[in-house]
Amino acid sequence: MNVDNLSPDELSPDEKRQTPAFSTSLKQIISFAITFLICFATWIILSGRLDFFHLGLGVIACAIVARLSSTKLISRRGIENLPRQWFRFVCYVPWLLYQVFLANLHVMSLAFNPRLIEVIDPKIIRFKSKLTRPMSLFIFANSITLTPGTITVFVSITGEFTVHVIDEYSGLSLPGEMEEKVAELMGE
């Protein structure tokens, strides 16, 4: 997806106008710490050894990685509303899973349908999304692709979506409710 290429620092004009609540150096430390913690948690899970030697290696490796890439993972400008955003994301995931489950059942029923060729009606639909931030476009595009029956073909940077849908029913939900949820999630 083209939205991947943008740096996460690209924010909508609204957020640029906000006065920063933290100083730049503090933000650097926070984004470093969060990246470090995520890396280290993954390290512990994957290594599974809790002795001093392995944890020490983990600390060194995670510190190097976090130092090099903390600006990539967490954008410094939006750091004030990060906890709220993560909370919203945690709320969004179960809803998405439920949608994925419903849509999966639908595609399953299609796959087992004896009159498959008459039932399905693949076509390509285009619509303009009201989302503007690259990250929300990225989440929305991936959510569309995760939901069976719809695959994102192309997303332009201005939010024009091209989606391949398998039948009438799958296309009904677009853009609709999912877009609302993503907009709410990203605070747009």
Partner: protein, 109 residues
């Protein structure tokens, strides 16, 4: 717990079966991607959750680490699977393959 794990794994396998049958029965490249890319994700979610539950039954540190690793697999697949599906489909569009449309319904875009 063991029963719940078994139910999850079996229903996950059911989704995998549906996905495979879908790949065989759907008419063209684009529509085959639908069962291939997504029913797999669902099947994987269910089987992996089932296995994580089954592993964590003993409740030792090693078992917890194993099931956390299994959960990590789910997270990574949920990020990579839509991206990969999209990349394959985009490659098809760029190569100029036109999608199959139902006979008689073709010109309705």
């Amino acid at each position: 717990m063991s029963l719940l794990a078994a139910i999850l794994i079996i229903s996950g396998l059911f989704f995998f079966t549906g996905g495979s049958i879908g790949i065989l029965r759907f008419p063209d490249f684009y529509s085959r991607l639908h069962p291939a890319g997504k029913l797999d994700t669902m099947g994987l979610l269910m089987t992996m959750t089932g296995m994580a539950l089954y592993t964590v039954q003993e409740f030792t540190l090693a078992a917890i680490f194993t099931s956390l690793k299994i959960l990590l697999i789910i997270v990574f697949v949920f990020i990579t699977s839509p991206t990969a599906t999209h990349a394959i489909l985009d490659a098809g569009v760029r190569a100029g393959l036109s999608p199959w449309t139902a006979p008689g319904k073709g010109e309705r875009e």
